[in-house]
Amino acid sequence: VTQPRDKACAQFGDQLTAYLDGELTDDRLSAVRGHLRECEGCRQAAADLAIVRDGLRELAPVDPPPSLWAGVQAQLAAREVEDAHRPSWRRALLRWLPVLPRYGGIAIVCAAAAVFLLWRATRTTDVVETGKTAPAIATNVPATDPATTTPITPAIAQPVCPPSADLAVATVPATPVTPVTPSIDDDTADVATAIAADPARTTASYTAATSELLGLACGARGDWTPTHRDTFDSTVTKLRGEIASAAPGRAQDKARRALVRYLQDAVVRDEIAAIDHAHDSHAFAGTRGAP
């Protein structure tokens, strides 16, 4: 069976380069030669390709100009001077660039892990900060909230919660909210003013936080045992006394912070106990509301 000429030409034509370069096995070599004997077109193509190949091989070598070596040396010197002026972190980056493709996969995984951990850490910090200082309140707080400042000086021994304290007390900070000092975000406030306003803002933050937490604690107070109520009242009174007796400034802020923390603990423990109680009222019946 003989192949059509076109099909044979296509088949053997693809092998002409390998044939000319002596890369065909004997059986294929013989077949290509056989086709070339029969096909003038392919014979001409092979002759042309041989001339192309030989012509390329016989191209005269090109000598580089004498200036090339001088140019290389000058470039090397210039690059070394550049290296000397380059910041160390860029030198380190350039040193690692060639191996990055090899360790690229590992580097990407490490970078992704680092970003994830950073994100987790930031998120955790945000949650903790929110719980600690209640920033939503801290930014707009009255400077003289009666829930904290008023009881401190004139009547330390006042009842911590009014007798009619109920859940409505928890929303006590319904007093008009007015900013104490110019905000740092205010474009018109200069840096010095903002720094000078910081202590007042800190005090106002503690005042607002104490007010809100005290409201929450007083709301839950009705469910506590008499012993726990007494403990709570005496501790709050003691902490208020410490605030009153502390020197204005850092010491007083520290005392205010202690009161806020105590109130946070009291409220949080109470809420946790309530959740636990809902799950297993028998197991925690006696511990609920411990401040």
Partner: protein, 206 residues
């Protein structure tokens, strides 16, 4: 290897002979290369000059034929600067020559890419190429081949320069171009075919 079919069958048409033996311009041994590299890394001027002289013709020749005469010196200079500055990163996975030629081809191709579509040889130069002679070897063939080579796509130009002009083996070409040997062979076949098209009728069998 068959030298001439005419001896076997004089009545049949002569067909082009296959290559008698593969042409190879093999590079120096690994030990020599290792010593030279170590000396260059120590900054020994003599070793650097030796390495330069060992590879200058090939590097410049490749660059000359891939990017053209006007930019060849710039590319060759950049190649040698890269070679000397990156010798520390040379891991010896391939021969030093393969590594240097790979740098040369890559630098040449990226230079062409930066240069865009501007061709080294313009149409005017091509039109000056004399018409092919009807018989035997065209005396101006070398000039025509240089002209046609400059008209090829850069990839084809690279494989022809490496394999046919510089006489490297398919394995070396594949290592330099970072492709398979089979790909290298097929690209060579296509490149020669394209050269033949560009050159037009070349002549009868020699």
């Amino acid at each position: 290897v068959i030298e001439s079919l005419a001896d076997l069958a004089p009545s049949l048409p002569t067909v082009p002979a296959t290559l008698a033996e593969p042409r190879s311009r093999a590079s120096g041994s690994l030990t020599d290369d290792a010593e030279l590299i170590a000396a260059c890394r120590r900054g020994e001027a003599r070793a650097m000059e030796m390495l330069y002289h060992q590879y200058k013709r090939r590097v410049f020749g490749m660059a000359h034929r891939i990017v053209g005469a006007s930019d060849a010196e710039e590319v060759a200079q950049e190649v040698f600067v890269r070679v000397f500055r990156a010798l520390g990163a040379f891991r010896g996975d391939s021969a030093l020559s393969t590594w240097i030629y790979r740098l040369t081809v890559n630098a040449s191709l990226s230079h062409l890419a930066k240069r865009g579509r501007r061709q080294e040889v313009s149409d005017d130069v091509l039109s000056d190429v004399p018409a092919p002679a009807a018989v035997q070897r065209d005396p101006s063939l070398a000039a025509r081949i240089e002209g046609a080579l400059a008209q090829l796509p850069p990839g084809y130009r690279a494989i022809l320069v490496l394999h046919d002009v510089e006489g490297l083996s398919h394995e070396e070409c594949a290592a330099i171009l970072e492709c398979r040997v089979g790909t290298c062979k097929s690209q060579l076949h296509k490149a020669r075919g394209k050269m033949r098209e560009l050159l037009g009728p070349i002549g009868g069998p020699a």
